[in-house]
Symmetry: C2
Amino acid sequence: MKTRTRLDHQTRQHQIVEAARELIATGGVDSLTIRGLASRVGVTEAAIYRHVASKEEVILLLLQEVQESLFQAISRATRSDRHALERLEHMLQLHVSYVELRQGISFVVIAQAAQFEEPRVRSAGRRLVEKYLSLVSEIITQGIERGEIDKTVSPDAAAMIFFGMIQSAVTRWLFDPSTHPLSENAVAMWVLFRTSLEFSDEDADRHLKEEGTD
Amino acid sequence: MKTRTRLDHQTRQHQIVEAARELIATGGVDSLTIRGLASRVGVTEAAIYRHVASKEEVILLLLQEVQESLFQAISRATRSDRHALERLEHMLQLHVSYVELRQGISFVVIAQAAQFEEPRVRSAGRRLVEKYLSLVSEIITQGIERGEIDKTVSPDAAAMIFFGMIQSAVTRWLFDPSTHPLSENAVAMWVLFRTSLEFSDEDADRHLKEEGTD
DNA sequence: ATTGTATGTTAGTAATCGCTCACATACATC
DNA sequence: GATGTATGTGAGCGATTACTAACATACAAT
């Protein structure tokens, strides 16, 4: 069956990308080599090239996989119709869980893509970051429209702070996971940051009353 | 003169570290090679090893140099006795200028050190991050003591958000410097973040009155 | 003048890198 | 059974890596 062989090809390719992820997670980007991939998949180096054109393609596929899996992981938080602040908090939790599960691969891959000269790798990394920022920014914009977030908040700036919170937490966590638990640090930052999104007290009172009359 | 030759040695070593910085700045960490260093300094590869024991030492020296120059750059903001929020804002500006001047080398080097397995490189990177966070945290703690910052703020969490703001801005800037100017994004984030450090309105009023009576 | 040290060179090492080629094998289709 | 395609192997390519040994030279101290 052609379909089966085609599927096998995709499976092998997925195995390779998975192996790439594991290699980077355990030994950093420098340990991503064709030899290492072959050894992990259980074939020879030449066989790797049956499913992948070059090492660059492996990196591009990995970036794509990271993007898909990350947005898959946080999608539960975004598509709810709850309060914007709850959605953001949920999103942060899901993102933190994702980072722990995947051992910070997203951070490492993005940092690496940023210093690549190859334009396709660069723009793949750029698109990943921009897409993430747009998602957060959109939630905040919606929150403002619904009167759940202070309207003086710049959605773009808030999204960048949100993204930066994760970068900051992951950086520390990568250096010393035991003393810098991801979720605890993330929660502590969120508790602080959300105060800059909320209404000041008088506005909040006014908003509560408005809600009550609706 | 022994002193002169010793000085020359240090000068050469400094040239090498400078060359390492430039290599990474233009081509990413992968373009940091002994060949590249030799070519940039204007000597042969073997001569590099007269002033440096290994490539690892180059990285360690670079980390050290980044730490020294960064703290040198932001020191003007820290040792002033102005309002804590002003000091933080000034520090952010100085840090941003530093990143622009050094082409984001600190971000790249830290991200790279985080995925090294070599313990000395790892801990050098870790110490750099922790020292920076302590500095910010201390300013905030002082600000709380002086009644300039809301006492419910967690200094550690605030420091991490501060650090994350820079990481976030630099990440975007590395991908596309023209469309994501560092200082503009940093200022936009700061305007938002500082609201979570400030007193709520009533407290601020109360504090102002207290200040007046002092 | 001699000696020692710092600093450079040329030439090379073994290891690893990404990648390719000629060839084998399994298997679906005809 | 013949054919074509997908997928594998072994061997090896040229390039690059970090690093070293043997040797040269400049120069300060004695």
